[in-house]
């Protein structure tokens, strides 16, 4: 066994893999959040749909996204394996009475449970939108944006376009015309379903709890435990990844659900 595999398969090495992949997934959440905020833009989904094309065609983004899928799998598989191994370490007989709540937080003790919920969520979420967008049927929409007033009119587009996005300027009427797959509509339709909205919001609680522990835990694993920097990790871990990000994501299905009522 080379020193690299030996290091990565040691208990601290496995933690390192969990920490680095976890932090990468955290950074993805920031990108995902900032991009998806375009769902709230009152333009019938023009900005969001153009963004969706960019995210699925740009070679750099595509490369990173394949890395992302790999890291999600690695984080999940390694995490479940560690949870199994750690459970084995207790031995055959477990405690009759165990007062875990006296010494640690509930979510820190249940990272594997929370992570499993998130894995199920990711599968559902990707099959709802990502799979539909890439392999399923998503209708096209034609946007006509008046370049002077900024007013946008969206109409269903029945024809076929060669690339994923068609964009041109109509000089005579001073309008920008964009034809793209209308993922925005899929989102809007999807979140009419109250069960799906409930599942999404519930999953965001899991995101919050998982990250409140996970984000700060990652830095501890990297050896970064220092009174100068801990307040920053706490602020980011609790404030941003534990509160702002999950609430931001939960607002998206809620927004579309309320809009559809």
């Amino acid at each position: 066994m080379s020193w690299v595999t030996q290091t990565l398969s040691s208990s601290i090495g496995k933690k390192l893999v969990m920490a680095l992949t976890g932090l990468f997934l955290c950074s993805f959440l920031l990108v995902h959040m900032s991009g998806n905020l375009q769902l709230f833009k009152q333009d019938n989904g023009l900005a969001f749909n153009v963004y969706a094309v960019f995210m699925t065609t740009n070679p750099l983004v595509k490369t990173i996204s394949y890395g992302l899928y790999a890291f999600i799998l690695l984080h999940a598989i390694e995490g479940l394996y560690l949870a199994y191994q750690n459970r084995q370490a207790r031995g055959d007989q477990r405690y009759v009475i165990n007062g875990g709540s006296a010494n640690s937080s509930w979510f820190s003790r249940n990272m594997a449970v929370l992570g499993t919920i998130l894995l199920v969520f990711i599968v559902v979420h990707m099959s709802n939108f990502w799979f539909e967008y890439k392999f399923g049927y998503v209708p096209y929409t034609q946007y006509e944006q008046n370049l002077v007033t900024g007013e946008t009119v969206a109409t269903p587009y029945e024809g076929q376009i060669k690339s994923k996005l068609e964009e041109y300027i109509r000089e005579e009427s001073n309008t920008r015309v964009v034809i793209a797959k209308d993922l925005y509509r899929s989102v809007m339709e999807g979140f009419k379903n109250p069960l799906l909205v409930f599942f999404y919001v519930l999953s965001m609680f899991a995101v919050s709890f998982h990250l409140v522990h996970g984000f700060r835990s990652a830095f501890q694993t990297l050896g970064l435990n220092h009174p100068k920097y801990n307040p920053i990790f706490n602020f980011l871990g609790i404030g941003i990844f534990g509160i702002v990000i999950p609430i931001g994501f939960a607002l998206m299905p809620l927004y579309f659900f309320i809009k559809s009522m």
Partner: protein, 254 residues
């Protein structure tokens, strides 16, 4: 020492490593609140001996909180309900008359039960032997001022050296991880000039031995530090991570 506390004790009884154990219930009367938890067990054992039963085996030695022998999992917490005390320093005044107290041994695959509440903690000895030492020349002690050590470093090393190796960290951890113990030992020596010659080798070998013994991996729940009778800080685990990963990327051992 007579008292007025009446208690119900539920104690894990297990004949040996191989047979299955179970919880047995005992009634105790006239316990003084000034007794230590172990003295209460002494009273119970006298009672059992008088009744012709096997006394309960439990580990104890100094009974003043420094040897690290006592190891009881009391009402779901290592060393009982109070912070920063060992079982021997826990007194019955921390409980109320009429309480039911459940006492179990440490539970970890790496700490097999020998009998009743006694577990085999020699895994810790093997981890210590793997690298928890320094090399010094024998003979007269050298002049104390020949090795200057900063006060901060000495204090930090001492906070790690306070570890008595009782294993409460392993018992409290949901993963039965020995990270706090190993981190205290690695930390203590890596902070001092005397520990420098074996520094990288120590981190590598002690972690390797820890993994081999079958302890779980750390998930940073912090239960170990919260339950540690010597209040060893999680900062030592962060230092161990730095020491280990640094050793792995830089040591000559390929």
């Amino acid at each position: 020492m007579e008292g007025n506390m009446n208690l119900t004790l539920k104690v894990w009884r297990q004949k040996n490593k191989k047979t299955a154990g179970k919880i047995e219930t005992y009634q105790l009367t006239g316990i003084s609140p000034d007794m230590s938890f172990l003295e209460m067990f002494d009273v119970l054992n006298e009672q059992l001996i008088n009744e012709g039963q096997q006394p309960i085996a439990f580990d104890h030695d100094c009974r003043e909180g420094i040897c690290g022998m006592c190891s009881m999992y009391i009402n779901g917490r290592p060393h009982g309900p109070k912070d920063a005390v060992t079982t021997c320093q826990l007194h019955m005044r921390s409980f109320s008359d009429g309480d039911t107290i459940v006492v179990e041994p440490w539970r970890a695959k790496a700490f097999p039960i020998i009998k009743d509440l006694v577990v085999d903690r020699s895994a810790f000895d093997r981890i210590q032997a793997a690298g928890g030492y320094i090399s010094v020349n024998t003979g007269n002690a050298q002049d104390a001022n020949s090795l200057p050590i900063a006060k901060d470093a000495a204090d930090e090393a001492f906070s790690a050296a306070a570890c008595i190796g009782c294993g409460a960290c392993v018992a409290a951890c949901k993963n039965a991880s020995a990270m706090l113990f190993v981190s205290a030992k690695v930390s203590q020596l890596s902070l001092l000039p005397q520990g420098q010659p074996e520094r990288t080798m120590r981190a590598e070998r002690m972690v390797a031995q820890m993994d081999e013994e079958g302890f779980g991996a750390c998930t940073n729940t912090g239960a170990c530090s919260a339950e540690c009778p010597k209040e060893i800080s999680l900062e030592h685990i962060a230092r161990l991570n730095r020491e280990y990963l640094g050793a792995k990327v830089s040591s000559d051992k390929v």
